[in-house]
């Protein structure tokens, strides 16, 4: 049980695009920035477009750019864009099956299973903590570790 690599890739791509401001960047260049496989990174970037976080611009000078400021994009938005919005815990309702399930009246099953509820409370705490952190917060923490982080990124992507 773990998040795919796509979440890490997506957040770094967003931060790098924020440092490039308006200029669209091609997938190949973003991929080279962190030595990632371009075809899979492109899939991740398309997921961010579908979520309304990135825009894709066609043409020779096209590429990806932010669709909105990173202050308005939470870490939850990114995780949902990449991983989907399915719950971490999916209940198969085994409580209703088998020799035990048969002995329980239907009225037992009108309320959610208590296993599902317990797992759901934990998941709500996880989602809340993700929703409370914007990608701009993560970018600021990233910048705090490195002098001139934005300038370095712009130079690395040939925009310095």
């Amino acid at each position: 049980m773990r998040t795919s690599k796509g979440v890490e890739w997506a957040v770094h791509a967003l931060i790098n695009l924020a440092w490039l401001q308006e200029a669209p960047v091609a997938t190949a260049q973003l991929a080279a920035g962190h030595d990632l496989p371009p075809s899979y990174l492109n899939k991740v970037l398309q997921q961010l477009v579908r979520a309304g976080i990135l825009e894709s611009l066609p043409g020779a000078r096209g590429g990806f750019r932010l669709a909105r400021p990173l202050e308005t994009v939470s870490m939850l938005d990114v995780v949902v864009a990449i991983e989907g919005d399915e719950p971490l815990f999916r209940c198969a309702e085994i409580r209703q099956c088998g020799t035990i399930g048969e002995r329980f009246p239907d009225s037992s099953f009108t309320r959610p299973c208590s296993v599902k509820s317990a797992m759901g409370r934990a998941e709500a705490a996880w989602r809340k903590a993700l929703a409370e952190q914007s990608v701009a917060d993560v970018q600021a923490a990233f910048a705090a570790n490195t002098p001139n982080a934005g300038k370095r990124v712009r130079r690395a992507l040939g925009r310095g």
Copy 2:
């Protein structure tokens, strides 16, 4: 990204064993209780033994029983027993790679990546919420949905 079926199976097995008290129960019987595949359920039960939550008793009248009261077993204990203790988010340190990574001084990388830290804060909230709920709490909530839940389970497993 989701938990395996094993967590749901494990929690229901623990609750059923709690209702049977001291008597060991064979895998086949526990599996029939919720119409589960016995060989895979057995794997889950062995994981709970390794975590010190269940005991396995050998012999014709053997089987599984609780190693300790469910008040002392948190939902986090069960999730870790079944899913392992790896973080949900694993950082591949792509920040250090590629044309961007090359432009960052080594001193940038002495502190954890801010993406990892942000994901880690959410995961800590998830783990905390799981740790705060015992399997006994879940059993009590389960019992609250059904009159005589324990008696029904004992009868279904031939111990009534």
